[in-house]
Amino acid sequence: MAPFDPISALVGGALIGLAAVLLMLLNGRIAGVSGILGEALTGDDRGWRMAFLIGLVAAPLLLGATGHPLPTPWMPSSFAMVVAAGLLVGFGTRLGGGCTSGHGVCGIARVSPRSITATLVFMATAMVVVAIMRHGFGG
């Protein structure tokens, strides 16, 4: 695993924040990835949403073309587990109206109690899951 690097974490985070601000200043939209994907799949006004998603995939491709490809995602879980997790993330983010970007970044930046609640709940839930998966019940 790559060592903890606070500077690239802060700079990378700042870029995510900048992307959110630009999308609001220019298009008046919230940069929530689950909402953008969900509405691109089921809603109207798909054009800008598809453009955003294309940018999201193109960024690591551009980095790869300049010799800095994304590290291969390391996922030791079984395929069944990966599929189950994907179903939960898709259904849950749409039911709860957002994910780490929409609630976690954009919502907290607006100081929205609804988004702060959602973020605390999904973080706490994920922490419990990881504790159980990695350390078992009661260690």
């Binding site: 903890f4 924040g17 992307a19 609001m24 919230i30 800008w48 749409r94 109690p113």
Partner: protein
């Protein structure tokens, strides 16, 4: 056309941010979520620093955006209006947290990782899209029953 270009640029910058911060690597995310690692010194604080960096830009940026009459390329700014802290919000956050904790992937990094053509990433994104479509179907059915 300007809205498409603006969205493309925003998505690009978002993707650069994810890649640069290391958040496309699920093990980094799980390393943050593993709070029991705080005691044993294996905890990875990266995600917290990414959030701090993002909020340090987004919070003042949104204050600025609120002061403007309208967005540059749109008639209105679509600020969220739903303020309800209700059962769908909490249930959805719990389900999302379950999936996120299982493999360490949330929607943004999952989509950016499509660039790696990893078979597990492709499977995750397809399952995530099916989950989203399933919610849409379920919501439609519920609203039909209520009006029937």
């Amino acid at each position: 056309m300007p809205t498409l270009l603006a969205a493309l640029v925003s998505g690009l910058i978002f993707g650069f941010g994810l890649a640069f911060s290391g958040m496309t690597q699920p093990t980094k995310v799980l390393g943050f979520l593993d709070v029991l690692g705080i005691g044993s010194g294996t905890w990875d604080p990266t995600l917290a620093f990414v959030m701090i960096g993002a909020l340090a830009v987004a919070a003042p940026g949104y204050v600025l955006a609120r002061r403007r009459e309208r967005p540059l390329f749109a008639e209105i700014a679509a600020w969220p209006t739903n303020r309800a802290i209700d059962r769908p919000l909490v249930a959805g956050a719990v389900l999302f947290g379950l999936g996120w904790g299982l493999v360490g992937l949330c929607p943004g990094p999952a989509i950016a990782n499509l660039a790696t053509l990893s078979s597990r990433i492709v499977a995750f994104v397809i399952a995530m899209a099916i989950g989203m479509l399933a919610l849409d179907v379920w919501r439609r059915r519920n609203s039909l029953e209520k009006t029937a």
